[in-house]
């Protein structure tokens, strides 16, 4: 099968869906001729022109509001906010408007928008361009939240996001964008709420999110050689969440490590741990371990950033602690 980059997979999904729906548009700063801050939109401006690949001013509330207003009046929109760190600038539009419109007005208007945003660090970009803020959005009814970890999933889930009648926070990770992977050329989609077991194992369940899925796989491969069988579970979508797959894995292994790049405090891992404790407590043979960033903003030099962010060593150590 052919391999393409994660960013190309996203672009393909958008192009294919925009060809099907003339009222679907992409809006954000730099999405036009420039090709996107992360080079996701690439040549889309040349294909669809200014009206459908719309450069916006640096106005996050305006961009998301524009997407919402268009979505409730017969269009669909993908709004790119290139860094998750900038989402606070349009948090009100996402949380108070997009997430609530369908509910507030008793089902009169739904908001089919995708907010495409890059989370994550390890890129030496300092405090305001490196955060993983996905847990904020898991706390808001009305939103869907996804974090695909491979090009295959990026394309399949972007198509699902575009065709979802609700607002979807679609997070990619900056380190994933240039990553290559197999992506079929034929049409496919990946539904939300279905976790993927990236590697089967029997001794411990390692739940990993986004970029850390790859660290998890690397650790699992290493430990396999030491005779430790790690099952790597990638939730892929955080809301809706595939509790069933996670709980079945935990029931099988009896041990759990949850690894994400976001802070441990208030992170998605806490919710996952609580679900496991609530619904599979009797199956646990060890405490649930959570791996995430240490409690500090993210500094830029590698010596500091790597100290704050979780590493493969941290994951390995956590697994060995509970075996």
């Amino acid at each position: 099968m052919r391999t393409i980059m994660y960013r190309e997979a996203l672009r393909e999904a958008m192009i294919e869906e925009m060809k099907k729906d003339k009222y679907l548009f992409l809006i954000g700063y730099d999405v036009g001729k420039y090709g996107g801050e992360h080079r996701i939109s690439g040549n889309m401006f040349d294909i669809f022109g200014d009206a459908r690949v719309k450069n916006a001013p640096i106005s996050e509330q305006g961009i998301v509001g524009c997407a919402i207003g268009a979505a409730i009046t017969g269009c669909k929109a993908i709004a790119e906010i290139p860094f998750g760190d900038f989402l606070p600038l349009c948090m009100d539009m996402i949380v108070n408007q997009a997430a609530k419109f369908y509910y507030t007005f008793g089902g009169q208007m739904n908001v089919p928008i995708v907010i495409l945003t890059a989370m994550g660090g390890y890129i030496r970009a300092a405090e305001q361009h490196s955060q993983c803020l996905e847990s904020w959005f898991m706390h808001i009814p009305g939103l869907k939240l996804v974090a695909p970890s491979t090009p295959y999933e990026a394309k399949g889930m972007m198509k699902t996001a575009i065709n979802d009648p609700n607002p979807v926070i679609f997070t990619e990770h900056k380190k994933l964008l240039p990553m290559k992977g197999e992506v079929p050329e034929e049409e496919y989609t990946i539904p939300f709420g279905v976790a993927d077991i990236k590697k089967e194992g029997k001794d411990v369940t390692l739940i990993a999110i986004s970029y850390l899925v790859h660290a998890a796989l690397s650790v699992a491969e290493k430990l396999e050689k030491e005779g430790i069988s790690v099952e790597v579970v990638d939730p892929r979508s955080l809301y809706p969440l595939d509790k069933h797959t996670i709980l079945e894995s935990v029931k099988k292994t009896g041990r759990v490590v949850i690894a994400h790049e976001a802070y441990v405090i208030g992170g998605v891992g806490g919710e996952l741990a609580a679900i496991i404790a609530d619904e599979a407590f009797g199956y646990l043979d060890a405490p649930i371990k959570r791996i995430g960033a240490k409690w500090a903003p993210l500094p830029f030099p590698s010596v500091l950033e790597d100290y704050v962010l979780p590493s493969e060593d941290d994951i390995e150590k956590a697994i060995k602690e509970i075996l």
Binding site: P57, I68, A70, Q97, Y103
Partner: protein
């Protein structure tokens, strides 16, 4: 001031009818709310009647508006249904939003009302999006965003007017300038309160500063703005100077002195228009009473409808979180 005779009689009567509907609806709402018949909060449109009336008289059913926390007047001017409105205010399942959202959040998508909004200034970016959608779909619709003087100091105002201007969208931004931002006299936090319409210059669009208590001035100014928007000439910013008859919300303290409130109450768009109509013999005293009685009866029926309507079921609170 032009004579009323310079205007089409039909339009005069239509404007009068709408203003009276808003006035009597809001007076009734004040009464039943104060009597404790409803839960929650309610912000009344009293004092602003001429704005929604004069602007919406230029709109078609499929044109859009975004509204505010003080949105009952916008709904009525756009053709909203008294019964569904009142039922919503009473939190009944027959209301516009199934009784779940109340006074702050009435909407009727079928007549282009994209929602009253509880966040000051949030209608503006949404109106920009509706304008963008109109352009993409290639229709001749327009969007009106209503908001207060307080909202002009929100970042959303700047972002939205700039985007609408630079994308040349059919959006009309209408400031309902009652000189109060909740409990703050806006002139203590804004140097250009009187002529907020002048801010249009900064965005390269047309701006107007008008007497928002004169429904005909609102009507004619909005007419020109709507025509420009429909013909692809982009947005307009209209600053309508009005007064607020009541507190920020019903039951709130009023930051103004009693003298200031009394002065505001004397500036009455509805009564002054009625007086002009009588003076120019467009209508008679008898007509006035007939109109008032007829409309009040409709509103009373709406109140009765609301009172008799069922409450939502508790479990309905979990419906419509996600669209299928």
């Amino acid at each position: 001031m032009k004579s009323l005779k310079d205007f089409d009689r039909e339009i005069i009567l239509r404007l009068y009818e709408t203003m009276l509907k808003i006035r009597l609806f809001e007076r009734t709402q004040a009464r039943v709310f104060r009597a404790g018949e409803q839960e929650g909060f309610t912000h009344l449109y009293l004092g602003a009647e001429a704005v929604a009336t004069g602007v919406c008289a230029n709109l078609n059913k499929d044109d859009y508006i975004t509204s505010t926390h003080r949105g009952h007047g916008h709904m009525i001017a756009k053709g909203g249904d008294f019964k569904k409105m009142m039922a919503e205010l009473y939190g009944r399942s027959t209301g516009y939003c199934l009784g779940r959202s109340g006074s702050l959040h009435i909407a009727d998508r079928s007549i282009g009302v994209l929602g009253a909004n509880g966040i000051v200034g949030d209608g503006n970016p949404i109106a920009v999006g509706a304008g963008y959608s109109i352009k993409l779909r290639g229709t001749k619709q327009v969007v009106v965003s209503f908001f207060g003087d307080g909202a002009t100091n929100q970042g959303t105002f700047h972002e939205s007017v700039n985007m609408a201007a630079s994308f040349n969208l059919p959006v009309i931004f209408v400031i309902e300038n009652n000189r109060l931002s909740c409990g703050v006299p806006t002139d203590t936090v804004c140097k250009v309160l009187e002529n907020l319409g002048d801010r249009a210059v900064a965005y390269g669009i047309q701006g107007e500063n008008i007497d928002g208590l004169d429904v005909l001035e609102v009507y004619t100014t909005a007419k020109a703005a709507v025509q420009r928007a429909r013909s692809g000439e982009g947005p307009t910013l209209i600053n309508c100077k009005i007064v607020r008859h009541r507190g920020h919300f019903e039951g709130d303290i009023d930051i103004r002195t009693q003298e200031e409130v009394d002065a505001a109450l004397k500036q009455d768009a509805v009564e002054s228009f009625e007086k002009r109509m009588l003076e120019e013999k467009i209508i008679s005293e008898k007509d006035v009473q007939e109109h008032r009685n007829r409309i009040q009866k409709m509103i009373d029926e709406a109140v009765e409808f609301a009172r008799k309507s069922p409450l939502p079921k508790p479990e309905d609170a979990l419906k419509f979180v996600y669209a299928e």
